[in-house]
């Protein structure tokens, strides 16, 4: 008996009797399936509903100012952009399951780069689209009422400024640390294949 056979004998002594049966596993699967991608699907569905809603409002109601049409279109486009980006991300994960470990780590690294792109570009476009769109969209509603005009625009301006200069950088800093740690880990894993 050589050492490898000894290791195999020890290895196979692991207790696997406590594993769930296939019926129990199917029950677990039906409870948990899709849970991981649920948030992404929620974003996609809500964005698409918003997009359709904006377009429907623009088509059904007649507005006098072109700013309303520009605003509605910008918000619809931002919603559509968000839905497309999240859908692409889901599609990538679905195509993944027959990859070897090396391809998988390369995929994870690409996912990390996509996440960085999502934070630095996609979110900027979406936020800019919604902000500009909203400002154009409500103009027709309030431009005749100076008090409302001032209150609505200054409140919205403060909200956008807080989101843009406080919340977003803070979230990005927090995620950047996580993403950097992931990058280091991927590099370490890739080195093991050399």
């Amino acid at each position: 008996m050589d050492n490898l056979d000894d290791f195999k004998a020890i290895w196979h002594a692991a207790d696997t009797k406590t594993l769930p049966s296939s019926e129990e596993m199917l029950k677990l699967i039906s409870n948990f399936r899709g849970q991981k991608l649920r948030n992404k699907w929620l974003v996609i569905i809500s964005s698409l509903i918003l997009c359709v809603l904006f377009i429907a409002v623009l088509c059904i109601f007649s507005f006098r100012l072109w700013t309303t049409y520009i605003g509605g279109s910008l918000m619809a486009l931002a919603s559509l952009w968000l839905a497309i980006n999240n859908f692409r991300s889901i599609k990538r994960f679905r195509q993944l399951d027959d990859s070897n470990n090396l391809e998988f780590i390369a995929f994870l690294e690409q996912t990390r780069k996509n996440q960085v792109y999502y934070y630095t570009r996609t979110m900027v476009y979406v936020l800019a689209g919604y902000s500009a769109g909203y400002m154009f969209y409500i103009y027709e509603l309030i431009y005749k009422y100076p008090t409302w005009f001032t209150v609505v625009y200054s409140t919205f301006g403060i909200y956008v400024a807080v989101m843009w200069f406080v919340v977003r950088p803070r979230a990005f800093r927090r995620d950047a640390a996580r993403l950097n740690a992931i990058q280091q880990r991927h590099e370490k894993l890739l080195n093991q294949f050399e």
Binding site: N3, I10, L96, N100
Partner: protein, 159 residues
Amino acid sequence: MQTFDEIYRRYSPQIYRVCLGYTNDPEHAKDLLQDTFIAVWQGLPSFRQQSQVSTWIFRIATNRCLRAMEVAKRMPSEELPFNLAEPRVDSKEEKLRFLYQCIAELNETDRIIISLELEGLAQAEIASVVGLSSGNIRVKIHRIKEKLTQKFKAHGQFR
């Protein structure tokens, strides 16, 4: 084409042992087993049989192991107290625990390679799961086996 039930019955003990070898944590290994079979269940209708079912399942499981480390709260320790004087391991359970400890000290890909080797996969299949050449796998297995043997000898095994 095998059914999910047949696949689960045949591969779940193997997948569990591989995940246990990687994590050295039975609860975490069970989570990974469940995660693997969720992916198998979802992917089975579209599985095109370009590779063997076993290769496909072991790829899913080992990829889940590699990824789980990014999100796991319970990280397997790579720095176990091997230099401490430990009692000699004689019972089956103690030997098994010691083997898992030794494997946990290896780097991630080595853990996967030796787990698949101990599971009895052919080296060509291990190469296909990991993404290295068969020659490379053969060399790595030899080195890992040497490392494990040294650890076991240092603890009074393989006299």
